[in-house]
Amino acid sequence: MTDKIRIATTSLAGCFGCHMSFLDIDERLLELIQHVEFDRSPLTDIEHCGPCDIGLIEGGVCNSENVHVLREFREHCKILVAVGACAINGGLPAMRNFVPLEDCLNESYMTGIGIENPQIPNDPELPLLLDKVRPIHEIVKIDYFLPGCPPSADVFWKFLTDLLAGQEPSLTYELLRYD
């Protein structure tokens, strides 16, 4: 067994931009990996989240699978973190909230320009869309929030090194950004 801090990450209704920004800590990854190991994450391809210390959630909640994944993370992570604008307020995907879901599907799959063989996808494997995209704090308890679109690499670094040092994470004025 290891005494490394276990981190899981996922992207729900997000663009993976927050994950890319996380990787922008660049060579600091080598220092980070001395102290942490990754559980479920796009970086590991582990499919389900085991017991973890920290869960990083990118993206809001737009479909039923997002809800299940989010609850799995909450169940297994001691500290759950909303990462980026979409996780915090729905972000860009939530801009569909002002269009009825049926109209969204019709425009995308039935009546939009250039569509051939129009049909709305209904494979039972596909998760059902929610009527609105929701921030994750409306579904489960969130312990910390890292704003930004995306949060800069320095935000990830400051937050994780604060936690690893056993101190309350805090962002400086320059690191707290909503865009």
């Binding site: 307020n89 729905g90 939530a94 801009m95 704090h137 409306e138 865009d179």
Partner: protein
């Protein structure tokens, strides 16, 4: 002899007729605010400037300064309330900073940064509001309106035009435009009006000017609204 009141333990001089806000700004002390502007009649609606005056909560922008008052502004309680109020403003409208051209220069965002707000706490209402892009030079995105009524006051008090009004109450409150069609293009508003430039958020923006200042050079990128406000409001009053 100069009259004074105590603000967070400091003696603040004031002149007869000054509000607590006016005296605090003149003495170089920032009290968070959004609907207050030194050029216009105090409105007292946003409640961000709420302070404790002798133990009672009052809006600093409307409450008169009095000899011997004890005023508390920078306390955990007042700033916690301010953060909750700001969070309510965010969830009651649609404030998507990454896609807003006012980002970096927005006072709502600046106040939220100042208060170290990292989340919106409440459930988002995602209200359905329209955009009025009818005017050739000016755009109104009602999603970003916080009903501070600064445009209402600027149009009335400085432009002499009465282009805007706040209609309805509570959650049905909305900004309306004084024209036969209700559209901005049929109003008297012009790009040089004070009302066009006074919006603290991205609700009223001038077309063809977006994103001209790069990220890093914008108003609140490096400087807190507490400093910017002292420079701007302090010079006016």
């Amino acid at each position: 002899m100069t009259q004074t009141f105590m603000l967070d333990g400091l003696a603040i001089p004031f002149e007869e007729g000054q509000t607590i806000m006016e005296a605090a700004i003149a003495a170089g002390h920032y009290i968070p605010h959004l609907c207050y502007h030194p050029d216009f009649t105090p409105y007292g609606s946003c409640k961000l400037c709420n302070v404790e005056v002798n133990g009672k909560i009052c809006a600093a922008c409307t409450f008169p300064a009095r000899e011997g008052q004890t005023v508390v502004s920078e306390s955990l309680e007042r700033n916690s309330d301010r953060q909750r109020i700001t969070q309510m403003l965010f969830v009651e409208g649609n404030h998507f900073c990454p896609s807003c051209e006012k980002s970096g220069n927005c006072q709502l965002q600046g106040v939220a940064y100042h208060l170290k707000m990292t989340d919106d706490h409440f459930n988002h209402q995602f209200p359905h509001r329209e955009i009025d892009a009818s005017h050739p030079d000016i755009l109104i995105d009602f999603n970003r309106c916080i009903f501070c009524a600064l445009c209402v006051r600027a149009s009335q008090e400085e432009d002499g035009k009465d282009v805007f009004a706040i209609s309805g109450r509570g959650i049905n409150k909305r900004l309306i435009i004084n024209s036969d069609s209700g559209q901005l293009r049929d109003s008297e508003l012009t790009v040089n009006d004070r009302a066009t430039h006074i919006c603290p958020t991205g609700a009223i923006v001038i077309k063809h000017t977006a994103y001209q200042v790069p990220i890093g050079d914008r108003q609140y990128d490096h400087q807190s609204i507490s400093e910017v406000s002292m420079e701007q409001d302090g010079n006016v009053s």
